[in-house]
């Protein structure tokens, strides 16, 4: 397979934007990426578009990507609409990657776009629940409940307390305050997090990613022609791995989780080990997940994530910054767009363009994105490893 680089990324700010449509959001992200790549829009040969709940929120199924691309002036190229719950963004990225890597085309667009806010919040909540197995969701076993159960299990295993999760939110809300794309830009304190409304014990309101509108995009290019387009540092896709649940549950913590499996496979493909990662954007849909993910990604050993957050090692100025963007809890979590927000943040960081939230001189970045639950295991998990070229 051919080497693939990212030559452009773009995004719309995350937030509550009742006056903006799927098209408005998508158009901004697409043209932000085109402008970043300094290419002519006509050079884009194929588009992968991720969206999760437009069918249930706006009524638009089937041709979602086409309606957005047409409104962006990009009619006429093949559009592949993909969906993988909260991992849809990385699934779209992987599709675009495979197009270029295989030689099917030279330049591909990946777009994630999500419109969650509407005038009917119960509908939104049902739509979110529907990205997991609906038979279980309807019994109340939806995202917050499942995360709460996993979290309880994790606390019991390693002796964590809610303060540890609050520390994740404090870090991420601070990072978000530095990110012009973030939905939530107010730094929170441990007390504020712990005293916010209880959603599903031990998860309080501020530990949970909120409803969000947003769109993010990346333009991928065959490495051998990338210099025709951009003078910016090239960001190589060193690995792009996706997996779906093995459905063995998580009650036994000795069984590797899906993120663990997919991370190991990504490290192998990239030819690196976790110690080589300079920054990570991970899927903190609920704050405790970030800690479990430190361990799943091998950023620390099993049971050591609590100490990692206690020691501040994952802050922007720590030795392994995690979620400098603010993560899902602060930057925002527009379901099908999240994976591409994570990619965009890593690209900005690797290029040294992340402004006040810039991590010191990173060379290797990791994206971890996951989505859906089927029989209690992740429906999808993806790990992408990006590397700045010399």
């Amino acid at each position: 397979m051919r080497k693939v680089v990212i030559i452009g990324v773009g995004a719309h700010v995350c937030g509550k934007m009742l006056d903006k449509s799927l098209r408005d959001l998508g158009r901004v992200a697409i043209w932000d990426a085109i402008s970043d790549a300094t290419i002519d829009a006509k050079e884009i040969q194929v588009a992968y578009v991720s969206n999760s709940i437009a069918g249930l929120i706006t009524g638009q199924e089937g041709s979602r990507g086409q309606t957005v691309l047409r409104a962006s002036g990009l009619g006429g190229i093949p559009v592949i609409n993909v969906e993988n719950a909260c991992a849809g963004g990385s699934t779209a990225f992987r599709g675009a990657y495979l197009e270029v890597a295989s030689g099917a085309c030279d330049i591909a667009l990946a777009l994630g776009v999500e419109k969650m806010f509407c005038d009917d919040t119960p509908r939104v909540v049902r739509a979110i629940a529907s990205t997991s197995e609906i038979e279980l969701s309807k019994m109340g076993v939806q995202f917050t409940a499942l995360y709460a159960m996993h979290t309880r299990n994790y606390m019991q295993e390693y002796g964590l307390t809610p303060e540890h999760f609050a520390k994740v939110v404090v870090k991420n809300s601070y990072n978000g305050s530095l990110n012009p794309y973030a939905q939530h830009r107010t730094p929170l304190t441990i007390d504020q997090v712990l005293n916010s409304r209880m959603i599903s014990d031990p998860l309080t309101l501020y530990m949970c990613a909120s409803i969000s509108d947003g769109a993010a995009a990346a333009i991928l290019c065959a490495e051998d022609i990338a210099r025709q387009y951009t003078a910016k540092p090239l960001v190589e896709v060193s690995a792009c791995k996706l997996a779906s649940g093995v459905f063995r549950g998580r009650s036994d913590t000795t069984i590797p989780t899906l993120s663990e499996i997919v991370a190991q496979s990504a490290y192998k493909e990239a030819g690196i080990s976790p110690e080589d990662v300079d920054l990570a954007e991970v899927h903190d849909a609920m704050a405790p997940a970030e800690l479990m993910e430190y361990e799943e990604l091998g950023l620390c050993k099993k049971g050591e994530a609590a100490r990692m957050i206690d020691e501040g090692r994952t802050k922007i100025d720590g030795d392994i910054p995690v979620n400098p963007s603010g993560g899902l809890t602060a930057r925002g979590h527009p379901i099908g767009a999240t994976g591409l927000y994570q990619v965009a943040e890593c690209v900005w960081q690797l290029r040294g363009e992340a402004g006040k939230r810039q991590v010191h001189n990173p060379r290797v970045a990791l994206v971890q994105n996951r989505g859906g639950f089927v029989e209690g295991d992740d429906a999808a998990a993806a790990v992408i490893i990006l590397r700045r070229r010399a």
Copy 2:
């Protein structure tokens, strides 16, 4: 890119099956394909799953493919859920093809599964309309209306009458009567077609594909290892092309349509011309479309499709059989599954396994699948060229 062959296909019968779920339908198609390929299910490394309207009919979004695969005993492999309105099946096929062609894996599954029937028919009609641009659908410019307008235009240009469209239905309903997978197995007469209820002038009821439940699957394999698995004739994927609308409308018949563009590109890739095609499965969502498609695919010259159906050239025993399966109007049109039913039919035909509807010794088969309307042009169109290996 590597050579890719199809080593197995499978399907559930099309029809109204209120007692069957998405999982029930998908499971049958998957295991029919696995059994046909004579492989161990564990050999399948990735799955592309197409579904169009489960979100609106069953409430299941996001992890649709995972829920079906899990229920089929295939948990643990990466699942990519794709959607492209009525062209979703060919889009899933193309994804699986690209996985194998690129070398990302050796064996990939493509599944299309659709559950349309429910106890609320207006909901189904809205769901179907939502696969096109909803702003236009809501004004009444949905599939039947758009097809009727295109048909009127076509009739005026070339002097066709409703009898020509009725002849398409007569042919396809006869073919469907020979197909154990078909939803409608009663041969119809010209009078029955013309006298059936008017849906959108000049389209009568029997000229329109009906609501359908169904699932179809294909297993794709790298050619160099295919003989490890199957002793059946191998079916090579000689071309697999997808495009989205150029949105120039169709009022000017001198402008190539999307199917025309994508067919030309597929012929070029396969290194053949339309004369080499021995049979075609085309997208007769409304019967007149089949005639327009004869011309778009180059099976005859512009304006000659009427004579082609008059002369019976596209019957099973004609010189270029089209829709031996019965097509969408007779076999059935379970939206996201249709493209894979078309592929399955071509594989059975190329292998000489099509029973009473067997075309005489075909070597090259063409699939044409299309879906959605955005600004009056197809949201997606795909052409796949399959060839029996010596």
